[in-house]
């Protein structure tokens, strides 16, 4: 079986010379849920941009469901990678929730009743079916984040990539989103510096710092390694201890 995601010695420098990624390697199997941890400026978002070819590097290799991410098959790649951006206002650019969820599937040639089904299916998965005809600005932030997830679920991606999914969410929305993510039958690659959230959702984690993967393993073990945490500017919120967080469901 092919891996959902394969990155081999990927390096990338911005035009101004700043090196953002330095020989990154990671493999994610189908059905896995993996967190990518790292402090601000570690290169997390840059890595995410490589997953669907918004950024392309000639140094290294990115494969999604066995397909090479390169200029001439971006369409195939984007069909398979569902990218959820940090700010749902960037992701939700249409005037109603329904149009927005339909945007992706319509671009890959789905129309008519099949398109309606896709939209309903995706909204159902994030429990937003009652909001289909609302304009996005009438939704709460947490609801918008969930619709943002639906916009890519509607494309039935092979891998769901989330950039800081818990940012700006109140505790209830945060829990609701976690429940939704855990209920999905899809490979998840989640970029975050919210460690409890990573632990709750992803059994496996990798740490990116200074453009390099410095650790890859069980999330609980990584978070338990104090030295590793400190040297990568990662820490649990004040007063929280690993033992407070229940083992994975």
């Amino acid at each position: 079986m092919t891996n959902a995601l394969e990155i081999k010695s990927l390096s990338f420098s911005y035009p101004d010379g700043r090196q953002a990624l330095n020989s990154v390697n990671i493999e994610i199997k189908r059905g896995e849920r993996v967190a990518l941890l790292g402090p601000n400026g570690a290169g997390k978002t840059t890595l995410v941009m490589h997953l669907n070819g918004i950024l392309l590097s000639d140094d290294g290799e990115v494969k999604v469901a066995g397909i090479n991410v390169e200029k001439n098959n971006l369409f195939e790649v984007r069909k398979r990678v569902g990218l959820v951006f940090q700010d749902p206002d960037d992701q939700l650019f249409m005037t109603t929730v329904r149009d927005d969820v339909a945007f992706g599937p319509a671009n890959i040639g789905i129309s008519g009743s099949e398109l309606d089904e896709r939209v309903n299916f995706a909204l159902d998965q994030v429990k937003m079916q009652d909001f289909a005809d609302r304009p996005p600005h009438h939704l709460s932030f947490g609801q918008r984040r969930r619709v943002a997830v639906a916009t890519v679920l509607a494309m039935k991606p092979d891998i769901l990539v989330l950039d800081e999914p818990s940012s700006n969410l109140d505790p209830a929305s945060r829990r609701e989103l976690a429940e939704i993510l855990l209920s999905l039958d899809v490979t998840i690659f989640m970029v975050t510096h919210d460690l409890p959230y990573a632990l709750e959702i992803c059994p496996r984690a990798a740490i990116l710092n200074d453009g390099k993967i410095v650790a890859d393993g069980s999330t609980r073990e990584l978070l338990g390694d104090d030295e590793l945490m400190t040297s990568n500017r990662l820490e649990l919120p004040f007063g929280m201890h690993l033992d407070h967080i229940p083992h994975h469901r």
Binding site: K79, L92, T95, D99, A102, G104, A106, N107
Partner: protein, 258 residues
């Protein structure tokens, strides 16, 4: 929010039901447009016709329950032209006539009336259109009326992000005011304009991020609007009603006045 008008942010659509309300948007736009065009074509001195139009418009306003506050607000938009209309009888060309004790230009009076009545009917009809049609349906309508797709897309983005950007503008104003800033006169323009510059940068960067989000979901230049609004023959017949009534008004009065 002393510096910013706030009424604009949400648009003025109100959800209610009648057949006019539910007319497919492209038919409704065409219908309102042609009604106003007939009004504009009717000479100003055709007094009776214009009073009849005014009656039709008032009935439409009442029937569609357009709120009075909104009507008042929209009429303010007309002010410069109202002033112009009032100046016309004073500065207009001869001949002059006595008008309540004033020597006023007769063509000027007619021209002023012509502007006032037509502009008012126009504003009211636009108001009826926008308060009975959701913004998104207006876009669908324009697309069906063969407006360039790209223009409709740009409009769609404008409608989607107006609230987001005006919220940013308001937050900036609050941040300024929280630090004791008060815009009293031109001395403060620099600060306001710098906020404007910052707003441009934020908007531009948002545009780029939105573009990225679109690419991620396979954007190829099309922005699909999903509703498949089905327009029945009855809708088209209903749509022609408004301009037909306007034409009928002209015909009936012409015959009647002969």
């Amino acid at each position: 929010m002393g510096e910013i008008q706030s009424h604009i942010s949400v648009g003025i659509y109100e959800h209610r039901h009648n057949w006019f309300h539910e007319l497919p948007s492209h038919i409704k736009i065409a219908s309102v447009f042609s009604f106003v065009l007939v009004v504009v074509l009717t000479p100003g001195y055709f007094f009776q016709a214009h009073l009849s139009y005014a009656l039709i418009v008032i009935s439409l306003l009442i029937w569609n329950k357009v709120p009075l506050g909104l009507i008042r607000k929209r009429l303010i938009i007309e002010i410069p032209f109202v002033l112009f209309a009032f100046f016309l009888p004073i500065f207009g060309t001869d001949p002059r006539i006595d008008f309540f004790g004033l020597r006023l230009s007769e063509p000027g009076l007619w021209a002023g009336w012509n502007i006032l009545i037509k502009a008012t009917i126009g504003v009211m009809m636009s108001l009826i259109l926008s308060s009975t049609t959701p913004q998104r349906e207006l876009l669908v309508g324009l697309e069906k009326l063969k407006f360039p797709k790209l223009l409709v897309q740009i409009m769609s983005f404008m409608i989607r992000y107006t609230v987001v950007v005006t919220e940013e503008l308001k937050r900036m104003a609050i941040a300024r005011e929280s630090r004791c800033f008060e815009a009293k006169g031109p001395k403060q323009w620099g600060v306001l304009a710098r906020s404007g510059g910052a707003l441009f940068i934020r908007s531009y960067e948002r545009g780029e991020r939105v573009h990225m989000a679109m690419l991620s979901r396979g954007y190829t230049g099309q922005l699909p609007l999903t509703t498949r609004q089905i327009s029945s023959r009855q809708d088209y017949i209903n749509g022609t009603l408004l301009p037909l009534v306007a034409v009928a008004v002209i015909l009936i009065w012409s015959v009647f006045l002969k």
